[in-house]
Amino acid sequence: MGRLFAILAALLVLASPAATQTGPVLPLYPQVRPGRVLTFPADHGAHPEFRTEWWYVTGWLKTEGGQDLGFQVTFFRSRPSVDQANPSAFAAKQILFAHAALSDPKLGKLLHDQRMARAGFGLAEAAVGDANLIIDDWTMRRAADGRFLTKVGGKAFTLDLAFRPTQPPLAQGEGGYSRKGPQPSQASHYYSLPQMVVSGTVTRGGKAVRVTGSAWLDREWSSTLLDPKAVGWDWVGLNLDDGGALMAFQVRDAAGKALWAGGSLRGKDGAVTRFTPDMVRFGAERLWRSPRTGGRYPVERSLSVRLPQGERRWMLKPLFDDQELDSRTAGGPIYWEGAVTTQGGRGYLELTGYVSPMKL
């Protein structure tokens, strides 16, 4: 799903090439086209020729004490438009960055940390062929047994988690070709791994706590995502209690109207319903105003989907209100990324472009 472009935005704008006299060799970004077949494990690995890519895990954890926590672990890859002829090992041909956040209702706000580095020297790498990402001391990789393992964190907290897939990958859009806007080129390659079983430890204040839970992995790569009129997007991914998986998104314009929308519902039987833009409608039930940034987020929402068997409505309630993440110090955007519950399921909601428009 089109998430967190804003973080990329800074990097991509950066890449807007100032014409040089020597004539830079700028990267040629492949277009996302329908008909490409997802192959595994290769598509778990990086697609460095594309402009942006991410490995985005969100989920719910339960501690041994029975406490609910939300978490987010994201690795991004970006291919800035820098001169490809630069032989320097430092040439910023690939930039990697990662965010991790922990939602603890007792704390009432997010704990978060990040890493960012240009790829190279084995210190920051995104491997091709299978998932294997490293940025200094942060890692995410797929083990031989098929589990995804990640270690992230910093002073405030560390997450050491394993995600075991229980279902086959869910190709979003048309076999993994997911439209994001009115133009066919505004699209990404997109698949999800919902209903992953989580085990591991969360360490805070030097104290490690064993956790279990369920998670959702989103994998997307693209070269062109947003329509120029877009200012932000809303996304939700829900692991349903019956084993089903629901994903929905909308791309908004400045007036708050949906420029594009989409999503899918995979039932417990494995049957997938793909949403066309006219099927999805997000409603705002309650606004929360951030005391730090002044951003007004619809943290409590309704999601209506006109399914063939009739319209269904999910009410999304946040684990707590203040799950806003300000990543400006790392060159990223301000957005809301929070654990939510719904009737018969739990997941994550992402709200971007509510403080300032996301630009690409």
């Binding site: 950066l14 090992a89 910023a92 960012m116 084995g122």
Partner: protein, 843 residues
Amino acid sequence: MAADRPRALAARWMILGEWRAHPMRAVTAAVAIAVGVALGLAVHLVNASALNEFSQAVSTVNGDAELQVRGVSPAGFDEALYPTLARLPGVAATSPVVELEAGAKGADGPVTLIGLDVLRAAHVTPSLLGRPSGADAAHGPTSEAAFDDNAVLLSRAALDALQVKPGDRLDLTAAGRTVPLAVAGTLPGVAEGQQIAVMDIAAAQWRFGQIGKLQRIDLRLEQGADAGRVRAAIARVLPADAQLVSRESEARRSDALSRAYRVNLDMLALMALLTGGFLVYSAQSLAVARRRAQFALLRVLGVRRRALLGQVLAEGAVVGLAGGVAGLGLGLALASGVLALLGGDLGGGYFGGVEPELVFAPGAALVFLVLGLLTAMGGSLIPAREAARAQPAVALKNVGDSVDPRVAPRIWPSLLLLAVGAAAAFAPAVGGIPLFGYGAMALLLAGGVAAMPWIARTMLTPLQRVRVAGAAVDLAFKRLWGAPSQAAVALCGIVASTSLMVAMAVMVSSFRGSVDDWLGQVLADDLYVRAEASGGGFDPATQAALARTPGVARMVFQTSTSLRLSPDQPPLAVLIRPFDARRMPMIDSATPPAGATPVWVSEPAAWLYGWKPGQSITLPISGQAAPFFVAGVWRDYSNQHGAVSLDSADYTRLTGDAFRAGAAVELAPGAKPETVIAALRARMPPGLSVDFAEPKTLRAFALRLFDRSFAVTYGLEAIAILVGLAGVAATISAQTLARTKEFGMLRHLGVTRSQIVAMLATEGAVLGAVGVLAGIGLGLVMSQVLIHVVNPQSFHWTMETQLPWTLLASVAAALVAAAAGTALLAGRRALSADAVRAVREDW
């Protein structure tokens, strides 16, 4: 106790009475102390403020990194070290850096070009992050401008120096390449006055030919990490061409850069204080001499010796304290005035471009106050002992000189002082500072002054036997012989100030003369060419083409780089040129064995690193430590922190670097420099900025630099001389005024007024001549300590003694004239009183 109170009262009354009667004498002494304290404090504060500012500037360039790994030479080291360091346990963050000296056409001074990975620097040296201008500003410090390989961010000072503003284009030259760049923003975190340009590390490596190379890696340690262990771990993985430096070692390095110079200036400033001490001595001696009968009376009345001693010392202490406190205020004002007017550089060139804030140092102020006090009390000690020791019965009767002129003064105490001083001169430096050398100077001075009564006696005795026609001259000789202690007191001031002045003057003239000779030897060619440092210089093809220019008989290409051998020491200069013994003022040499690579080391380098001819040393010239044979030591005044000279062919073989930044040209007979310059210019590669200079210009420039760096020295010395002259004048006039009764008696005996005036002038002139002769002798001895001990130990270079005859002669004449003139003027005043009243005048 009851008896003490009236005694204390009497003492106070006597002090106040003395000062009320002769206020100017106490004031002059206090002023002398004040000037000494003020100069010492001002020089110290200016230097300390400049050093402080300088270290801050260094730490801004380094961006507050806790630890750094630096290349030992500007060529840097292999970038493979970066991931190795980043993975070391205990290292929290690393930031790889390309650092080059850059320039641009028309720029005001070089700019430090820093190639930075902003994503890494953000965690290590955030002060080096820029602020992009224009539309990208909203995206924060890690925005696009940082990755754009055309973008450069400039500090305020760099914008000024390069005369550009954000949005402008800029052709920046570094490492021999000129690259067109866009000024994309500013560096608000960089301290004022620092000329820094920041661009992306990959762009810097590529555009400026540094692929695979880094000049430094900035490090941040994990909180709570064992710094010692992490350092040791880092040291284990470092290649020979990189070294670990910390903020402390950088501070030590910037301190080492100028320490000897600063201590030297401090010592010079203290000379004024020392002269002030002699002034206190002469003032107190006179006061004691005149009150001898008073003191004797007190002794008879039961006052103990100890109390008398205490009283005279207390007088000195009050003078010292008053002078010292006044001196502190004066010094503070002087320091802030100097900083405001001249900046922090006192002429040594160490702190050029630094605009420091005055940093007040209470500790230093206290030290100078105590020094002032001790000097004043030291000056009072001898008169106080004399007052206490006098036999009351004799003193009561005899109002004249307490010393019997027939008894020869003792010489052995002064010989002892001189001997100890001479011995101290042979002691080595302490921590790079010639402490014993300065001690030797002080002891020699003390010994010389202590020898004055004996010397005066020895020099005046023949005069006493000389039959002269005029009564006035005869009287003058008799008087000088008959009142030896008064003569000695007056002589002390003259000898002290003359000897210090002569020592300094001889040292400076020897230094200047040696530099001049040296310049003549090293600048033996007809024409010098220098390509801008950042321009990379001439490649071998250009060198060959230039050497074939018509009118050029011989063209020798040379270049220089630097090498850090120790994290605590300023870098060593490495001069690369074809070896030519004629162009090197060799002091010592050895023949290298076959197969060895020779290196010639400069005198300061030999001193600093303990190198001797014939020794084998290792230098990390080519990235690895390579063995070299020390084939000689040469005299060099241009690199205080040492230089080594390598043969051009050896350097190219070791490093593969055949670029040369400069050349010395020998013209063909009859060729005109202007024509050859024009022809050479025509053959220069485009874009290379080149300067031409003729040896006479370079020589004049070097000597101008020399004089500028000694300007403050001259100034301080002039003040010391003035204080000394004032002392001589005050002493002589006081002595003369005290002789009113004697003049009245002479007038009654029929001596004419003009005869008395002639007598006084002769006395003054003879006294001055004796003092100046002794002072010059002592000064010559002390100058040898400066030349052979203090200078080599401070600056690690030697020089040949060269005497400034004209200066010595004119100063001697001026001092004799001043002594005679003062005596004459004071005598006129004393004689203006009525002769009859004068005889009656009694205490």
